[in-house]
Symmetry: C2
Subunit: 501 residues, 2 copies
């Protein structure tokens, strides 16, 4: 222990997580399954770099109260002309897509469908369960103004969630259209873009705060439980009343998409923008019907507005339909597991020409949590490799042969490569989640035999889960067989159902 003071502390930066083993495997499997759906729907993969120039990235994050506006930014080293431009790590996958589409529009197939997954970074204050890096998975169509493009994204997202493991009745996609509010604001004389955005972000909290909380944020402002005061959108009360009526069109859950459309139509007073919203939603409904997407899977719900500034039309949000419990055991709604919408102006930032676009995005870790909450993670339990125990340097060839045989049969297997004794090796096999340990002691080798420990059965026996004689006779925990039976016996053990999951 020398130079203790000059040694760095081994710790990950605040808000950055290490992920490993079965959690990571489950998340990767999720991404693989969703990717397969997206490719089957004709979406091609795209990977852009982690950095974008700051001006290309734009400022669309809802919480821009941090230095650098919530992104990780740095100034590039000077180029030949001596200029060092500001770059920032992407905070989502949509802004880089807009840049890519603008840059390559001439040569892309049009419309351009792409999906992408990868880390995004938010320079937010880290906290428990709140990370500054997380993996998103997005699918977008650029260059189609057809409502069928929105419907396709919505239907594909539903299929993706099911491919990831959610049962059809465990999630619902709620859909609305920002133009409903454009029409309402216009009719109410609300012209200021900032005021409109503040109002939309207040409505976005409907799920969490209910109408009273939203009404306060639409008006003067709101004092929350922690004593923090948030200034409101300062809307006049007739406009707030109109918003209440609009949101109320979907409060009765039994409304079909068609019924919500009729209620919105009866409401009236939403102007030309509102009429456009209704026509788009009607076309989305028709396309969803043609794609056999049921009323339970996709609902129309005007409380959905989404927090990001850039949405211009249809907006959608996938919600987990399960009550789960928080760390204090209280029942909580899991809430949103993904969302998206139409953003027709994002590419125009670069080109000056409007390029319609629509997409859906979800956080991979969040969906994985949702799957666990929905009880859909257990079936995917991941097992460790079979561990071959090491006794003597002289018998290394025998151990290596056994490992190679198992791998050759497609069974994950490894040789213990530490220098500890039998007991520590069994503990190691247990930590690895090994289904079995393979023992080739001098006696076994001399007799042309091998001893195989069924570690799952061993754990079940130890835990008293399986203490009846019949069970023990069937899975005795340990057996010595002829060396030629190694693969067959290990496979039978590895394929047996877990009793200790």
């Amino acid at each position: 222990m020398t130079h203790a003071s000059s040694r760095p502390e081994a710790r990950a930066p605040r808000g950055f997580a290490d992920r490993r083993g079965r959690d990571l495997i489950a998340e990767r499997r999720l991404v693989t399954r969703v990717s397969a759906v997206y490719e089957r729907w004709g979406f091609e993969p795209l990977d852009t770099g982690a950095f974008e120039y700051a001006d290309a990235l734009g400022k669309f994050l809802p919480d821009a109260d941090r230095p650098n506006e919530g992104v990780f930014a740095l100034q590039d080293d000077p180029d030949e002309a001596g200029n060092g431009e500001w770059m920032a790590l992407r905070y989502d996958l949509t802004a880089p897509l807009a840049r890519f589409a603008a840059q390559n529009w001439e040569t892309l197939p049009k419309p351009f469908r792409r999906y992408a997954f990868g880390p995004v970074w938010r320079n937010e204050k880290p906290g428990p369960g709140r990370f500054r890096e997380f993996v998103q998975c997005d699918a977008d169509t650029v260059g189609s103004d057809r409502p069928e493009a929105d419907a396709e994204i919505i239907a594909m997202a539903c299929e993706g969630l099911q491919a990831a493991g959610l049962a059809p009745d465990q999630a619902v996609m709620r859909v609305s259209n920002r133009k409903l509010f454009d029409g309402l604001f216009e009719a109410g004389g609300i012209e200021d873009a900032g005021q409109r955005l503040t109002a939309l972000r207040a409505i976005d909290k409907y799920d969490r705060l209910g109408w009273e909380g939203v009404a306060a944020l639409l008006g003067e402002g709101r004092l929350d439980e922690s004593g923090d005061y948030t200034k409101g959108a300062q809307l006049p009360s007739p406009v707030i009343a109109r918003i209440q009526a609009l949101l109320a069109t979907a409060t009765v859950e039994r409304f079909s998409r068609e019924e919500v459309l009729r209620a919105l139509s009866n409401l009236g007073g939403l102007g030309a923008a509102g009429a456009a919203a209704l026509a788009e939603l009607a076309a989305i409904d028709r396309a969803l019907g043609a794609m056999k997407v049921g009323q339970d899977a996709v609902r129309f719900d005007p409380t959905i507005v989404r927090g990001l500034e850039y949405y211009t039309g249809a907006v959608f949000e996938a919600e987990l339909l399960l009550e789960t419990t928080d760390e204090k055991g209280r029942a909580v709604r899991f809430g949103s597991i993904g969302g998206g919408g139409r953003y027709d102006d994002l590419v125009a930032r670069f080109t000056g020409e409007r390029l319609p676009a629509t997409g859906f995005s979800f956080g991979v870790s969040r969906l994985a949590s949702a799957l666990r909450a929905a009880g859909r993670g257990a079936a995917d339990a991941v097992r460790g490799p079979v561990v071959v125990i090491v006794f003597s340097e002289a018998d290394m060839q025998h151990y290596l042969d056994a490992v190679a045989e198992l791998r050759g049969a497609g069974i994950a297997a490894e040789l213990y490569l530490g220098r500890a004794g039998m007991k520590a090796q069994m503990k190691y096999a247990d930590r690895r989640g090994a289904p079995a340990a393979v023992i080739l002691g001098g006696d076994e080798i001399a007799a042309g035999q091998v001893t195989i420990k069924d570690l799952h059965a061993g754990r079940a026996l130890a835990a008293g889960i399986a203490d009846n004689e019949a069970w023990k006779a069937e899975r005795p925990g340990q057996l010595t067989v002829s060396r030629g039976e190694l693969v067959a016996v290990v496979r039978r053990i590895a394929d047996a159902p877990h009793t200790d999951a």
Copy 2:
């Protein structure tokens, strides 16, 4: 076209690439196949964050001539105590592993085998084909000092390269041990660590510069073709002569691993460190033999030293055995496609206690290039989705049904969602690499039929590749069949061999 001056230019930051379509699919497939091998060998996946604290990351890059020492660094926002620590994006996957292992050693299975893949960042001067972000794939064993752990990494890396698509005779793994040079330097009175490192980095260029160039860099220095002068390691000439003799032990390609060991042993004068190197290499040879890894797959070669500072023992480098041509058509050796070695001191930076470790790393894009150079990419040709053509809003239901049927049969398919006419839609299908276009015009729908264009056959016909009558009778380019035959006919076309690849 308004506010042109305020519009950002759509361009990716210098040295950052967009990757899409079949290149990206090929790279992902490569990673998936290698990962499957690594998991079968008992290596578990690990994902660490993009950032590490700068002190944890350390400074081990060979080219530290840039500001920030070749990394992308930024100062974190102040924490509660008002301190903002410096963080940097990881430049490899080894330094984060060392940090992770030191942080979690108590609870990890020991030895700890992990594999990882993901982007790494180098703040280098970007140039053609030289990127500042690229994906690496690593496998490492931490906590085993056994030469079998090195042999396992080497054998597994060979299997991984083959799983990725290389034939056994297309690559070779060259293996040596840094301790050979430790012994040589010690015997020659070279004590200075910086001088030793400069010498090792000179030897690392043997492949590219040959002995004359290396000798200059070991001595006074070297003037390269561009006129740049590089100061040498200033070694005395007897030491340089010893190095020449050491490197010469492997210049005859027919030497087996055992023959190289014998030549090294006969050389003598490598002290205690050299003897340790020979014992480790002999144990690696025995383990490779036990694992049936042939003399052609893994060779011992003292010219292998690797450029990174942290290696302490065995070092290895995978080389593509193909002459390829550069952009000017000249024959060039492709060279290294990955490497690694033993680094027993990296974790001790944190804990003060030595923790032996060994691993192998390759760049995913570089290996994908090697596969293309080796002619092993074509078999993986990726096809686009089948495109269903859109004529009339009124028939949308028919188009959507056809797309859903194809997808339901596992065939990637999409509806054209732009607003252009038939000709533009066919061009679109071509750009998408679609095997077929599905045409449901009013006549087809009325007659209960569907027209299917075989786009590959069409391209072959257009190119005159297939102009004989028998071929045209078999693949006529376009055929109208009963609507019920849609899936069967499309599948036959999509599964037919490419003639235009």
